[in-house]
Symmetry: none
């Protein structure tokens, strides 16, 4: 069942007054291919929306089920935050999803959204915020370059 799929690229799309955005066509192809659905939620650490396939979250739910017993409170907090925030977003015949007010507000998105591929996941950003974030990440990576190299060599 493990099929190859990767959310990639960076795509800028308009958000209309109703909160509708075209899901990048590549993403749509993945959803159809795997017969899954898109699920989005507020990033826990960043001002952006995070998305993935429903089957990815389902796998997480199964892992939690299997690793803890029914009454365990260990993972209770986590499941509340993740599943309580996540929502299924199906796209219409023209390929658009309708983002909720809550998500748009969290990411400070008004009329334009940037889809950023992250492999098994993707993010949706306010364009200006993403630009800054990308800069930040690039610098971060450059700083840690030696460490990264050293780690790889030591393997």
């Amino acid at each position: 069942m493990r099929k190859v799929f990767l959310f990639m690229d960076t795509i800028i799309n308009k958000v209309d007054a109703k909160g509708r955005v075209s899901l990048p066509s590549d993403y749509r192809a993945i959803v159809k291919d795997l017969e899954s659905e898109i699920v989005c939620y507020r990033s826990l650490s960043l001002p952006c929306i995070e998305g993935c396939l429903e089957e990815t979250l389902d796998k997480l739910a199964t892992d939690i089920e299997d690793s803890t017993d029914f009454f365990s409170e260990t993972q209770d907090n986590l499941t509340n935050l993740i599943f309580g925030d996540a929502k299924r977003f199906t796209f219409d015949s023209t390929g658009r999803i309708m983002l909720s007010e809550k998500l748009l507000k969290h990411a400070d998105i008004t009329d334009t959204a940037v889809f950023v591929g992250k492999g098994r996941k993707f993010q949706i950003w306010n364009p200006e915020n993403w630009e800054k974030e990308e800069q930040r990440i690039r610098q971060e990576v450059l700083k840690n370059r030696p460490v990264l190299k050293k780690q790889k060599e030591s393997e």
Copy 2:
């Protein structure tokens, strides 16, 4: 038999004078899809109602049957409480269930209820109480960041 189903999102619905509440449509779709039923009971640790599919409780019962040593005596007692408390809630043609006085009282719900998805389970809260609980959880999770990270990576 493992089909994908996830109780997600946070939905606020009115509770009328008769104690009727609309079950979120996504939840109804799951029930129909799996040809199961909704079961609710008082949370053992929190002032909220907890719900799941009847087949989820059935699975729990089977697990207990099959592996006596896995479940401690304490947990056996807990299951007694759950099964003693749990009740099936079917929804009418307009999609509403009728919560009992006992459950509403336990969760301190009067005219508004919040459904919070938890994956295989969900909770029903008094709005104000849920707001506080969500705050508490967010702080808790941020403190235990490493645990969260580990969990998220497993996606």
